[in-house]
């Protein structure tokens, strides 16, 4: 049989107990589950983020390595070019120096030859004059001597040249 009082009181009693159970029995459990869900979600997103970061870093490393390689190649290339240039310059300088030395020596030889010739001429002229003077009985004044010497030198110069 139906009892009105039991009916109403049981609803009220159940609702009160439901509120108590929800507050002290269910809420901590639900909070924990929610916390766990968030924790797992965070872990997953962090892992994904970490992987993306690692990939980005790896790509960056590869790029840097490639760049470094390229740069090294460039440096070697430049160094080689410079070395070639230098070698050529040194060679040129050496050639120029040799040329200059050759020229100098040649000039020196020519000058010495001239000097020697001049000295020989002078000597010959002197001897000639002295011979002439002797031939002319040694009576020649200094002035005549000088004049003869000059004449002889001139003649000899004409002779030589």
């Amino acid at each position: 049989m139906f009892e009105t009082g039991t009916f109403i009181v049981s609803i009220v009693a159940f609702l009160i107990m439901f509120l108590i159970i929800r507050r002290y029995g269910f809420k901590p459990l639900a909070d924990m589950l929610e916390q766990r869900r968030q924790y797992i979600e965070r872990q997953i997103s962090e892992a994904e983020e970490g992987r993306a970061q690692a990939e980005a870093l790896l790509a960056e490393q590869r790029r840097l390595l490639e760049e470094a390689r390229q740069e090294a190649r460039n440096i070697v290339e430049a160094a080689r070019a410079r070395a070639d240039e230098q070698a050529r310059e040194i060679l040129q300088a050496a050639q120029a120096e040799a040329q200059r030395l050759l020229e100098e020596n040649r000039q020196m030889i020519a000058r010495e030859r001239e000097e020697a010739l001049n000295a020989a001429l002078r000597e010959v002229a002197d001897i000639t004059v002295r011979l002439t003077a002797k031939l002319l009985q040694q009576n020649v004044t200094d002035a005549v001597h000088e004049k003869l010497l000059a004449e002889a030198e001139k003649k000899l110069g004409e002779l030589v040249c």
């Binding site: 139906f2 009892e3 009916f7 049981s10 159940f14 439901f18 002290y24 029995g25 459990l29």
Partner: protein, 253 residues
């Protein structure tokens, strides 16, 4: 018919055994939950916590099957969880024991008149399943009914449309649903207890051979099964009825 102690028998009869057992059930449930929640650990669940998590998961799956969207699931989840554990404990209490005292002296202010005592052979049950009482289960069913309609009224247009839109005959369901909802639970639990009482009443052959014992064991197993199933059925029907009237979100059931 056993003679329950009843407060205000004439005007507003309150079955004291039933209400007392409800409160006892509530205490058992809260003690069980608090025991399980004693050392909550997010990363290393163990012992009772695993069981509680499984129950919560079970209730959540039930709610997800019947509710239109996640928000409604979150709303119904505490009620479904509580109802599941509460009804399970309540149904099992009557299986574990039914205690009755034999009363010879009538107590009129508790409704235990001489005539009722005589009809019940002086048996006054004090420990019983609260769900073996028709008023209590109907109370729960009507509570669910009220909740479902209150939730439906949050979207009045769809709420009033859904009474007539597939077929006006659906209005009949609004009456039969809560009735069957409550009576199903009551009938199963009450039948289990009543038959158990009868089996216990089988006299011993030759004064010492308990021929009712195998029967009792079989019936105990069956009742345990029914008790568990009925807790589940009541809870999932509750989710279904409330989910049917939750019009928020995309496409109700």
């Amino acid at each position: 018919m056993p003679a329950f102690p009843i407060l205000f028998p004439g005007t507003f009869p309150i079955n004291l055994t039933c209400i007392g057992m409800m409160i006892l059930t509530g205490i058992i449930v809260i003690v069980f939950l608090r025991l399980g929640l004693r050392r909550l650990d997010m990363r290393h669940p163990r012992g009772l916590q695993n069981l509680l998590e499984w129950i919560a998961d079970f209730a959540a799956n039930m709610a997800r099957d019947t509710m239109p969207n996640e928000q409604a699931v979150r709303w119904i989840l505490p009620l479904a969880f509580t109802m599941l554990i509460y009804l399970f404990v309540a149904n099992w209490l009557g299986l574990i024991a039914t205690i009755a005292i034999h009363l010879d002296h009538p107590i009129p202010w508790l409704g235990l008149t001489a005539e009722r005592l005589r009809q019940a052979h002086g048996e006054v049950p004090l420990f019983d399943s609260p769900t073996a009482n028709m008023s209590m289960t109907l109370g729960l069913a009507i509570m669910v009914w009220v909740i479902s309609h209150a939730r439906g009224l949050r979207h009045p247009k769809q709420y009033f449309k859904h009474f007539i839109s597939p077929s006006p005959l659906a209005i009949i369901e609004e009456i039969t649903n809560p009735l069957t909802h409550g009576m199903r639970l009551y009938g199963n639990i009450f039948a289990g207890e009543a038959l158990m009482g009868i089996i216990l009443g089988i006299p011993l052959v030759f004064g010492w051979i308990p021929i009712g014992l195998p029967l009792l064991l079989v019936w105990l197993f069956y009742s345990a099964f029914v008790s568990t199933i009925q807790a589940y059925v009541f809870t999932i029907l509750m989710c279904l009825y409330i989910g049917n009237k939750s019009f928020d979100g995309h496409g109700a059931h």
